[in-house]
Point group: C2
Chain length 404, copies 2
């Protein structure tokens, strides 16, 4: 059987996290491992109405094939939402895709030859890494700081890459409440990273699935808003704010780059579901997205607050454990003292019915043994406190031999 596989298929492994999730689904386990949004935060009544009316009355379009670019009405609604944040996208600058993941896959398919270099966060989103690996790219990880990638290291790595003769294609960045760390790229670094891309002739793939899930009033403009030279592709998704099941995202950027993505999408799936595009377009037209997002953010913010409060209360103090305090998104990132192994904490956690994802899985070039990703998305504050309390006890025990 293996003799039939392409080199790229031989290169691709199943997501380790999906395997981990299998162990964490026992009912008595309080799991912070998954990263799924809470379906109760989606506007099901409105979506049900939009679905019924679009399928019944607009069947000539909503049940038919559509153009590969996506339907105009959906792209217009998305463009008008994104324009509130400074991203001005005409119709030729925005296409619909079947999820952010497909957008990342299309970008990889369109730009990556085997051996090409890409630059990404260390740690970063595993699904993106998988897509880059499928197209046999070489991934160069750039350590994250509190305000995003370390840009000195980024520049150094780009220069190293040039002198090695490898073709460097793009920088992949999750600017807002990054998965897995919750870190947000500062405004200063957003501008600086674009300068670097400019200087070294790279594209920037800006992936912002959590943009709608932010807790404070301020927001940082997408990198795409500063792009005067057609280097930035911005991916925005509805999967965390309207529905994950509908699989809808958009890609914004220079029309010449998008034209290439559209050509590749033709043979990939002809078009994104017109049924779900029309449902979303109708919902966005007839409902107030801002009001909806206020409710949704309230839910996730309360969960984040509960998690951080309980970490402050239950985690061992003065032992060098630190964590991020994200302003949005679904994840908190915990760093344990150097030398401590989160795999061992994971095993002890399971014995005590609490689960998370050991952080090293998110490191493309190794490392991160002392880190953990915790999601606060699915549980209520009470359960979150109970789980963090359990985890605190596990950490206490794990630390004691070290502090002896």
């Amino acid at each position: 059987m293996r003799s039939f596989l392409s080199e790229r298929a031989k290169n691709t492994e199943r997501s380790a996290i999906r395997e981990i999730l299998k162990y964490t689904q026992e009912p008595e386990v309080i799991s912070f491992a998954g990263g799924l949004p809470k379906p109760e935060t989606f506007p099901r009544e409105g979506l049900a109405e939009s679905a019924a009316s679009q399928i019944r009355d607009n069947y000539e379009k909503s049940l038919q094939y559509g153009t590969t670019e996506g339907i105009k009405e959906f792209r217009q609604e998305m463009s008008s939402w994104l324009s509130e944040f400074g991203l001005e996208l005409e119709l030729k600058n925005i296409i619909a895709t079947n999820s952010s993941q497909q957008a990342i896959d299309l970008v990889s398919k369109t730009f990556l030859d085997p051996g090409d270099r890409i630059f990404c966060g260390l740690p970063t989103y595993l699904g993106a890494v998988q897509a880059f690996s499928t197209f046999q790219a070489e991934k160069v990880g750039i350590p994250l700081e509190k305000d995003g990638m370390n840009l000195e290291i980024l520049e150094k790595k780009i220069k190293d890459s040039k002198s090695s003769g490898r073709r460097a294609k793009f920088i992949y960045v999750i600017p807002d409440f990054q998965n897995p760390t919750g870190v947000t790229l500062s405004k200063k670094k957003r501008k600086k990273i674009l300068d670097i891309a400019e200087e070294h002739d790279l594209l920037i793939i800006e992936d912002t699935p959590y943009f709608g899930v932010r807790f404070s009033k301020g927001f940082k403009k997408p990198i795409g808003t500063y792009d005067d030279n057609g280097r930035v592709i911005t991916i925005a998704s509805l999967s965390k704010i309207l529905s994950s099941g509908m699989r809808l995202a958009v890609v914004g950027g220079p029309s010449e780059l998008l034209a290439n993505l559209v050509t590749m999408k033709q043979s990939t799936d002809l078009c994104t579901s017109t049924t779900t595009q029309w449902i979303a377009a109708d919902w966005l037209k007839n409902n107030n997205l801002s009001d909806h997002l206020k409710e949704l953010r309230k839910y996730y913010r309360e969960n984040r607050d509960a998690m951080i409060e309980e970490m402050n209360r239950s985690f061992p103090k003065d032992e060098g454990i630190s964590w991020t305090e994200p302003n949005g998104g679904l994840f908190i990132w915990v760093t344990l003292p150097e030398g401590m192994d989160s795999e061992s904490v994971f095993e002890k956690g399971l014995e005590n019915n609490v689960a998370f994802v050991p952080g090293h899985h998110f490191y493309v070039n190794g490392g991160g043994q002392n880190t953990m990703r915790l999601s606060y998305s699915l549980l209520n504050p009470e359960k979150i406190r109970e789980g963090i309390n359990r985890l605190g006890k596990v950490l206490e025990k794990e630390l004691s031999p070290i502090s002896q």
Copy 2:
């Protein structure tokens, strides 16, 4: 910009047919060019009900991410439909994909390295050819006869390929009412093609999007039903019978092969829309698909009959023009006398407000200049007769210099 493109992107061209369709959309043109199904044949009332109830009451699943394999309930309904035709698929032998086109793309992604050989009909479906080209395969066309591929030529080409040292991976076949010709593979050849695959250690990709759209009572069993050795992957779609906009298909086959497709699908789009899968599963559970298909077939059969009747009446006689009489699907294939150029007929047709697709577009290795694809899917019998009548007059004029 071009310097960023991957070799595969440089290799990929936009569908020529989509470009043709632009010219044929003037309201006064009677167009047989497109291949879209008729949305009125889809069960919009039932789908609207299923959509509303699934989104409102089953939102925890229908708006949430799902497994990459697809949701169990949808795969079970599809499996139970396919079992009526002898294809026995357990859950591990069937996965959901985001359309047949995605299935073809995943097969290509999983099995094809640059330079690998695949064998396909001459002519064949252009979307498949595009996917094979994207993954830089070498396409070997096998001429079609009235009962499907010429299998002597297939064997010869496989042997040639072996002696050339190229790796041959699979035979791509559309067994039922093939696009573009309407030809059906005979039962004898279905068994024989499997023997050939067996002898030369190839896979068979069996793509049957029109299987539900058949006019006579009999049907030929899918090649997959004869497969004892895990070589056949069968792709079945809902795009022609329930909705094209929902983008739903399934892939049936040996579990080891499917496991590889699932691994590749993970990084492609994580999962097929659970929203549309639940809508389809609910509709299939609560409605009688056979009754629905009876109505749908009646519509297409009447159109086919009108087209063939009018061809008999209006096309020049005794001039060597022939056409297929398909037992299902959406297309009739016309062969003009050798030396006649259907591109010239196309241009004259447009001047006379009638359009079709010149057949050479469907030939992967050149040829087919004297062929045309006509779809009877979208127009009513009256319009079909009028369009064929116009085309008959164009053919008459085009033939006169030849017969002089």
